[in-house]
């Protein structure tokens, strides 16, 4: 059995350096790798290209890295919850590539499946299509979008084992499994790390072959962005 376990976030991100391209799992603040983000903030690496559906909020998640100006370029689909992000974008301090959410997810999938590109109708006829190859299949136009090429993918899972197998919980799954497949080096932080053999192979979401480093995270805040409830 190949053991993927590292001591913690600091060791897991040890070779992420200035200029690295990193993917970060999560949707909004749901399922984000809190421990690794905090370690990147402490390490103060800069000039990062971050691929993540959202950019956190001003004081949590990727927002913390933006505040310290560690991010050179952000590739996301929706960034509306972060005032500092919008300010850096409108002032030209931050390079931003906004791409459709399905395109983002599927470009991760393509990388993990070993396919160089995908064809999607999303963005045809819009500014997203500028400079991209268009192919017509069965009378409909599709954009060619390339698989992502990321140095690191950092994901958060619910449970994982020492062999790197991952199980996600509820909608905190979101982008995590496809990003886990897409990194040259994939780092997984999990709420509960167990011995290999404990998890039922039939219920693994991400096979350990995609995961290079795994550790049990601590002090998860799991902040809720929009707390909505109904009366009993």
């Amino acid at each position: 059995m190949i053991n993927k376990v590292v001591s913690g976030a600091e060791e897991a991100i040890r070779d992420i350096s200035d200029g690295s391209t990193i993917m970060l799992g999560g949707f909004g603040l749901c399922g984000i790798p809190e421990n690794c983000i905090n370690a990147l903030v402490s390490k103060k690496v800069s000039d990062l290209t971050c691929i993540s559906n959202n950019a956190g909020v001003d004081d949590f998640g990727i927002g913390l890295m933006l505040k310290q100006r560690q991010v050179k370029k952000m590739i996301s689909s929706y960034v509306g919850e972060n005032a500092e992000f919008e300010r850096q974008l409108l002032s030209g301090e931050l390079e931003v590539e906004l791409i459709p959410q399905g395109t983002l997810a599927t470009r991760c999938l393509a990388a993990g499946y070993g396919m160089p590109a995908i064809f999607t109708p999303a963005g045809v006829g819009t500014e997203v299509a500028e400079g991209k190859e268009i192919r017509n299949f069965n009378g409909k136009d599709y954009l060619m979008e390339f698989a992502f090429d990321a140095d690191f993918a950092i994901v958060k899972a619910w449970k994982g084992d020492t062999a790197g197998n991952l199980i996600f919980r509820s909608t905190s799954r979101n982008f995590n499994p496809v990003m886990a497949m897409a990194g040259k080096i994939t780092i997984a932080e999990v709420e509960e790390l167990v011995e290999a053999g404990t998890l039922d192979p039939d219920y693994i979401h991400t096979p350990g072959i995609y995961v290079h480093r795994i550790f049990q995270g601590k002090n998860y805040e799991k902040r809720i962005e929009q707390r909505t409830v109904r009366k009993r």
Binding site: G31, E81, L90, V96, L109, R169, S172, E225, T228
Partner: protein
């Protein structure tokens, strides 16, 4: 009298049929869920990766791991399923979702839609909107017909950056229900109670097609 947001949602709910898988966008579309008749069964898709979205949780039962595409805490229902975001857009692209309801800032008479960006002012991103409008076979747009200054949002051509081209077939506004015809033009189908056809004419900058008597919307 123009419709409230709730009434627009109420009118759109009448378009939903038994057995539909439906994706509801943020804003007015979210309200549609409140007006689904009890005698029909539908499944709501949330594009972050959930089929079978249930109501908001009871106070104290919020789960940070269970949210919808608007990042609101929600619940699952019997029969719900969870999947990753790539599969979520896979089912949208493959047209497994029967109906998509979303908001818009502008639509044009040939079915173009703009709803993601105001250059120099508002940059929030398109989220899943471009994927949805490019692939969905059945899209209803819930939007304001006119802005606060009385200017039409139903235009000959969109002025804002596009989200998708020639994809919108039906629009429900505070004033009217309209189809966008394949050959172009807004065909007036219903008007809000107390609104005149003349007012629709002056509030629609794009080509408006009015044929015969136009019935009043029924909201009950």
């Amino acid at each position: 009298m123009s419709l409230s947001k709730e009434q627009i949602a109420q009118r759109i709910a009448k378009e939903i049929k038994d057995g539909y898988y439906v994706n509801l966008g943020i804003g007015i579309p979210t309200l549609v869920a409140n007006y689904i008749p009890d005698n029909i069964n539908i499944v709501l898709q949330s594009e972050n990766g959930l089929l079978g979205m249930g109501p908001f949780p009871f106070e104290g039962e919020e789960d940070a791991d269970l949210i919808n595409a608007g990042k609101q805490t929600i619940t699952t229902l019997p029969g719900s399923s969870i999947f990753d975001s790539a599969m979520s857009f896979g089912m949208i692209r493959a047209q497994k979702v029967d109906l998509t309801i979303l908001g818009a800032m502008e639509v044009s008479e040939n079915g173009d839609i703009a709803n993601w960006k105001i250059p120099g002012k508002m940059v929030k991103g398109m989220g899943g909107a471009m994927d949805l409008v490019a692939s969905a076979k059945n899209i209803i747009v819930a939007m304001q017909h006119i802005n606060k200054a009385g200017e039409s949002k139903l235009l000959p051509a969109c002025t804002l950056p596009l989200t998708g081209v020639k994809c919108i077939k039906k629009v429900v506004t505070e004033l009217a229900v309209l189809d966008i015809l394949p050959e172009g033009g807004f065909k007036l189908l219903e008007i809000a109670p107390g609104v005149s056809v003349d007012f629709i004419r002056q509030s629609t900058l794009g080509k408006l097609i009015v044929e015969g008597e136009i019935p009043e919307m029924k909201l009950d």
